[in-house]
């Protein structure tokens, strides 16, 4: 029994890891949803394996709850799925974030120089203020 439990556990963990890689890769939210569904299913199977290995009937209600709510996530995401621009659905790398920040800062400085109001972002002076 112990050997079989280990073999099953390794198979389940490997399957879950592969679908986590798919969740990381994307490319769209719906692909990630499918990956998440498989992770939930693997968790249910792993709990079943645990209950079988130790003969624990008290784990069964957790299986009932998980099988009831497991589909809520994918239905919700599918409901709000929208057309995503190409290349949008991924985590930016450090360099890309730095480049975007630098661009924003350059833009800000350019507008500041034009108007000559350095503290524009703090709201500036009140209108009709007596100086």
């Amino acid at each position: 029994m112990t050997v079989v439990v280990w073999v099953c556990g390794v198979l389940l963990v490997a399957g879950a890891l592969l679908s986590v890689i798919r969740i990381e890769k994307g490319p769209s939210m719906l692909d990630r949803t499918v990956g998440l569904d498989i992770v939930v299913l693997t968790i249910i199977a792993a709990l079943g394996l645990y209950a079988a290995a130790y003969r624990r009937a008290d784990v069964v209600p957790i299986l009932v709850a998980l099988s009831l709510v497991g589909f809520v996530g994918s239905v919700t995401i599918a409901r709000f799925a929208a057309v995503e621009p190409e290349g949008e659905g991924r985590v930016l790398t450090r360099e890309e974030i730095a480049a975007r920040e630098a661009e924003l800062r350059a833009q800000e400085e350019a507008t500041d120089d034009e108007r000559g109001v350095p503290d524009e972002h703090h709201g500036g002076g009140a209108e009709g203020e007596v100086r």
């Binding site: 198979l11 389940l12 798919r22 498989i38 249910i44 209950a51 009937a57 099988s67 497991g70």
Partner: protein, 127 residues
């Protein structure tokens, strides 16, 4: 055969079922990573959803051999069979609407056919 023998038979059968269920879960992981588009990945994802889960639950039931627990396991299987099609339908339709599905790869495309028929009917009603 004595009760002890029957217990051993049940344990062996449960081990076989658990192994089968875990294999299907692993196959789903491989498929969802390697298949090229959304529909193919959904196809891989459904492997553990019904057959894999039912195998694991049968294995668990054979191992627990307790009336109340077995009925709860039947409940799990029924819930899963009710909710899996809902989720798959929603994901597939959302994929169709957001252009994730290449109609050239489809053998049968009933949704496109029905949608164009509905549009045609609407146009005729307006005219």
């Amino acid at each position: 055969m004595t009760a002890d023998d029957w217990n051993r038979v049940a344990d062996v059968a449960s081990v076989v079922c658990l192994l089968g269920g875990s294999l299907l879960a692993f196959a789903a992981g491989v498929g969802v990573l390697r298949f090229p588009d959304l529909l193919a990945r959904m196809h891989a994802g459904t492997k553990p959803q019904v057959l894999g889960l039912v195998l694991v639950l049968v294995g668990l039931g054979l191992r627990l051999r307790d009336g109340g627990a077995v009925w709860a396991l039947v409940l799990v299987a029924v819930f899963q069979m009710l909710t899996a099609p809902v989720a798959a339908h929603m994901v597939g339709r959302a994929g169709y609407r957001t252009g994730k599905i290449d109609s050239r790869t489809l053998e049968v495309d009933e949704l496109t056919r029905d949608l164009s028929a509905a549009q045609e009917a609407q146009r005729r009603r307006r005219a």
